[in-house]
């Protein structure tokens, strides 16, 4: 028995090492074939950006519209058939209901397939019942279904969610208008539906829906839906107006020089923030729904004519394929779409700055905005994009380059300094200047632990301070960090638990970590630091170089959406120097090569036209 178990354990252990073929094909971002064709300013066709499904949808839409028109025409002619159709729909509905019950109670989630085909019934009573049932009235108290009569004769009702929809709009511009008889004076007995849409409602955005599924989705998003008796469609009236946070300063990516606004949780506002920066008609904003239970939305933004179409298609493919119940926020979406979840390196840029998103969009990347999180995702990611801060571009190039060098140093310090310290004082004492070494030794004498324990203790304490600083409410949080670090460090030295030089090492490391502009990259560095400490403590500099090679190999094999992580350094391209050096703005003539954009040129060879031009007459020297 025990032997059996042991064998199975060994087999399991073996299965961990066993080779498994890759789960999916890697996506390669290819060069656009007709590179020569799109001259500057010439637009790439929109159809390039749509995948098969989208194209089919567009075609279907057209066909359906035509069909509907026909059906409408038919309906006008043979009203008697109506009851028949209704009956048929009801029958189908019931049979589906039964089928669902037969499937068992295991799935509480609404089955999308069941409702899909259900077009809106012209019978308003049926519609009302269905809506009430689907939205769980009266158990759910925030959904409102309000019945009334149009022109005192036609039955109608509106459905909306109290709080999601703007009450002012509903009261003043929908219900008041709809029930105002004066407005129906001109009604000549034609189609009430069209009349209401065209003459009565004074709301900016009204859409016609033909199925219950769409209607319910819209209601859940805060739209008010109007059903009128006798029509196979309903009106979705834009009334979204929920409470939201106003635009504030960025908190995790603050800059001194540059835009001072951040995203909010509201998707619409975020989209507008970007549109306000890029006033380009080719900025395309597509909306997708992810997650089956929460129906959370995400919006993909890209610029037609710049972004590589296959990149857009791939992003859409990945987003659409997500099947989960709850995909809230950018963090979850990020984890669903990243290429390789086993690598600790970030494979998506998270940012809360609209200007950063805009600049990446102009570079030819794709942004994904999600509901309910004030962050945008940008793909594909490169190391360069992660260590660049939006501030670089606002500063003059000399300062920008200097900042980048500082940041690169900060990253190295945050990653390696504790490991270098531990290997120096444990293995390579000869390298430390004698005087310093003796004073380290003297200050370490009262400490009863080995240096590695000391270091880990102090690192743990700093991590604690950092984590606690976020949790502790309000003003105390920020002060706690400083006071905690100061007092803890001082007390630890006084108590003889750690040596003073270690406090410096740990503090500088923490500083270096805070200087990394990307939060996710900073997290990677924070974790990888412990890996290096372990290697440095076990074999000194040799152990660290093992770690360095491993990290470099990992980085160079990583690809995010078909783009190598280390681009533009590897593979080598013309602008490999841009990684650290910030070129003067007039030198930045091409877009990042690794993105294989449709339009590669950002600006003409001579972007400062005045260099070639003549100064106004009389001003010349």
């Amino acid at each position: 028995m025990a032997e059996d178990q042991q064998q199975s354990f060994i087999r399991k252990l073996g299965s961990i090492f066993a080779y498994r073929p890759p789960e999916h094909d890697t996506f390669v971002l290819t060069e656009q074939e007709d590179e020569a064709a799109p001259e500057h300013g010439k637009e790439a066709g929109l159809e390039n950006y749509l995948d098969q499904e989208d194209l089919k949808k567009v075609a279907d839409e057209k066909i359906r519209e035509e069909k509907e028109r026909e059906i409408e025409a038919e309906e006008e002619i043979k009203k008697p058939a109506r009851a028949d159709i209704l009956k048929r729909i009801r029958n189908r509905k019931q049979s589906e209901e039964e089928k669902r019950k037969a499937d068992g109670d295991k799935k509480n989630k609404p089955d999308q397939g069941a409702k899909e085909a259900a077009g809106i019934s012209p019978d308003i009573n049926f519609s009302r019942e269905l809506i009430k049932k689907e939205l769980n009235i009266p158990i759910s108290i925030d959904v409102v279904v309000r019945d009334f009569k149009l022109n005192r004769e036609v039955n109608a009702f509106v459905a909306f969610i109290d709080g999601m929809a703007d009450r002012d709009v509903i009261n003043n511009f929908i219900l008041r208008q709809l029930m105002n008889r004066i407005l129906y004076d001109k009604y000549d007995g034609g189609t009430m539906f069209e009349y209401v849409k065209e003459n009565v409602l004074s709301v900016n955005q009204v859409t016609v829906l033909t199925d219950y599924d769409g209607a319910i989705n819209q209601i859940l998003m805060g739209v008010t839906v109007l059903f009128i008796d006798g029509y196979k469609k309903c009106l979705a009236i834009e009334t979204r107006g929920f409470e939201k946070r106003s635009i504030e300063k960025p908190t995790t990516e603050a800059v001194i020089h540059g835009s001072q606004e951040a995203f909010t949780e509201n998707l619409k506002t975020s989209m507008i923030q970007i549109r306000r920066i890029i006033k380009n008609k080719n900025l395309i904003n597509e909306f997708l729904t992810i997650g089956s239970a929460d129906q959370s939305g995400a919006s993909i933004m890209y610029i037609r004519g710049i972004t590589n179409p296959s990149l857009v298609k791939e992003v859409k493919r990945r987003l659409k394929s997500i099947k989960t119940d709850f995909a809230m926020g950018d963090g979850v979406i990020e984890q669903f779409i990243e290429d390789n979840p086993w690598r600790i390196l970030p494979q998506v840029i998270n940012t809360e700055r609209p200007d950063r998103v805009a600049s990446h969009l102009m570079q030819g990347r794709v942004a994904i905005l999600s509901e309910s999180a004030p962050f945008a995702l940008i793909v594909p990611v490169t190391l360069t994009a992660l260590i660049h801060s939006p501030e670089d571009f606002n500063l003059r190039w000399q300062f920008g380059t200097f900042l980048r060098v500082i940041r690169a140093c900060a990253m190295l310090i945050a990653l390696l300094l504790p490991a270098v310290y531990i290997s120096l004082i444990n293995y390579h004492q000869e390298m430390v200047p004698t005087e310093l070494l003796i004073s380290i030794a003297t200050s370490r004498e009262p400490v009863p632990f080995p240096s590695i324990v000391e270091l880990l203790f102090m690192e743990a304490a700093f991590e604690l301070i950092r984590e606690a600083g976020i949790r502790v409410p309000g003003v105390i949080g920020t002060t706690l960090g400083i006071i905690g670090a100061l007092i803890l460090g001082q007390a630890a030295v006084a108590a003889g638990i750690v040596s003073p030089i270690l406090i410096i090492v740990v503090a500088v490391t923490a500083l270096g970590n805070f200087a990394i502009p990307s939060y996710s990259l900073a997290f990677v560095v924070r974790l990888a630091r412990f890996f290096f400490i372990a290697l440095g403590a076990s074999l000194g500099f040799f152990g660290m170089s093992v770690g360095l090679v491993m990290i470099a190999a990992m980085m160079s094999s990583l690809k995010s959406f078909g783009v190598p992580f280390l681009a533009p350094a590897w593979p080598r391209t013309k602008n490999s120097g841009k990684m650290i050096l910030r070129y003067p703005v007039w030198e930045r003539e091409t877009r990042a090569d690794e993105l294989n954009t449709v339009d590669k040129r950002r600006q003409p060879k001579i972007s400062r036209g005045w260099v070639k031009g003549e100064p106004p007459a009389g001003e010349k020297e």
Partner: protein
């Protein structure tokens, strides 16, 4: 699959964190306070055994003055080092024996100089010891080789800091500072060993001695007035105050055996020929007015050019030294 995933994660964590720390963690790890740093190593001829080894080590005691609470005042004691002498058959055995007294492991990795007594340097044993030095891992070839008149242990007893509390720094700076004044040669082991091994070079070491620190009273003893400064040998420099050890002049070797010594002035001349001379102040008597002394700050202008011609079986060496003052 799910189960595998968890195991994979655990395995990766184990490999990453526990394996290196757990397995390799301790072989060559030394905490800095578990080591005793030898700053100077002295070799004398032994009385009962072959060798008498003197170790001068940096002490951890008087260093803590910079810390917050330490109210230790070392007062007049200038030296922050402690020394130890053992009788032993060879250097490394000696270090092992010396380890008996120290709680730390004695380490040579920060040794600044190795001192041989003149008696040792003139004997046959010298070759044996000097040749065995580079085979020791911790020994560094940039250590200085010093030949001292008298006993090395006496020298180390006088090897104290002056004006400074930091022996390690003082010991490493004092020689490089003096090499600049060219009264001593570059006495690194690297050069010494290469000279020993090479067919075209003979080794030179720094000469040192213990100075009695007594200026002669007027009328007491005869002494010639110096011609250009620096005619004294190590240990004879007329001075008072400071510490008793002198580094002055050079010890000249033929093969692994000391054959003579140069005073400061001769060492400067040697430096001019080999090209190691950096700069020095020469006092020259004014030929017209013998009472006046002209001081020249002399620096090399070019590298010396040495031409050797063999004329009739006898080598003739042409030497061109260009200096500027």
């Amino acid at each position: 699959m799910r189960n595998n995933l968890v195991k994979k994660i655990i395995l990766v964590l184990l490999i990453v964190v526990l394996l290196p720390v757990g397995t390799a963690g301790c072989y060559d790890r030394w905490e800095p306070d578990d080591l005793a740093y030898v700053l100077a190593l002295g070799l004398d001829k032994g009385v009962t055994d072959k060798l008498r080894l003197t170790l001068q080590m940096a002490s951890f005691r008087s260093q803590s003055g910079g810390g917050g609470g330490g109210q230790q005042k070392s007062g007049g004691q200038a030296s922050a080092t402690e020394s130890l002498t053992v009788e032993c058959p060879s250097v490394y055995t000696g270090i092992n024996i010396a380890n008996v007294t120290t709680s730390q492991k004695i380490s040579l990795m920060h040794t600044k100089f190795i001192i041989f007594s003149e008696e040792m340097a003139r004997s046959e044993d010298f070759k044996k010891y000097i040749m065995s030095l580079p085979h020791y891992r911790e020994f560094r070839e940039s250590t200085n080789i010093i030949i001292c008149k008298g006993k090395a242990s006496d020298f180390i007893a006088q090897n104290k800091t002056f004006l400074s509390m930091r022996p390690a720094k003082a010991f490493s700076v004092i020689l490089s500072q003096q090499v600049r004044a060219s009264f001593i040669p570059r006495g690194r082991f690297f050069d010494f060993y290469n000279g020993l091994k090479s067919g075209v070079q003979e080794p030179v070491a720094i000469l040192s001695g213990v100075n009695p620190l007594k200026l002669k009273q007027p009328g007491e003893g005869e002494r010639q007035e110096s011609v250009s400064g620096g005619e004294d040998g190590a240990g004879d420099i007329p001075r008072q105050g400071g510490v008793k050890r002198d580094f002055f002049g050079a010890a000249v070797f033929r093969g692994p055996k000391m054959v003579g010594e140069l005073d400061g002035n001769e060492t400067r001349a040697l430096g001019m020929v080999t090209g190691d001379f950096s700069s020095s102040d020469f006092s020259v008597k004014d030929p017209e007015k013998p009472d006046n002394t002209v001081v020249l700050d002399v620096r090399p202008a070019r590298k010396p050019v040495i031409k050797v011609n063999v004329k009739g079986g006898r080598p003739v060496v042409d030497l061109a030294v260009r200096l500027e003052g």
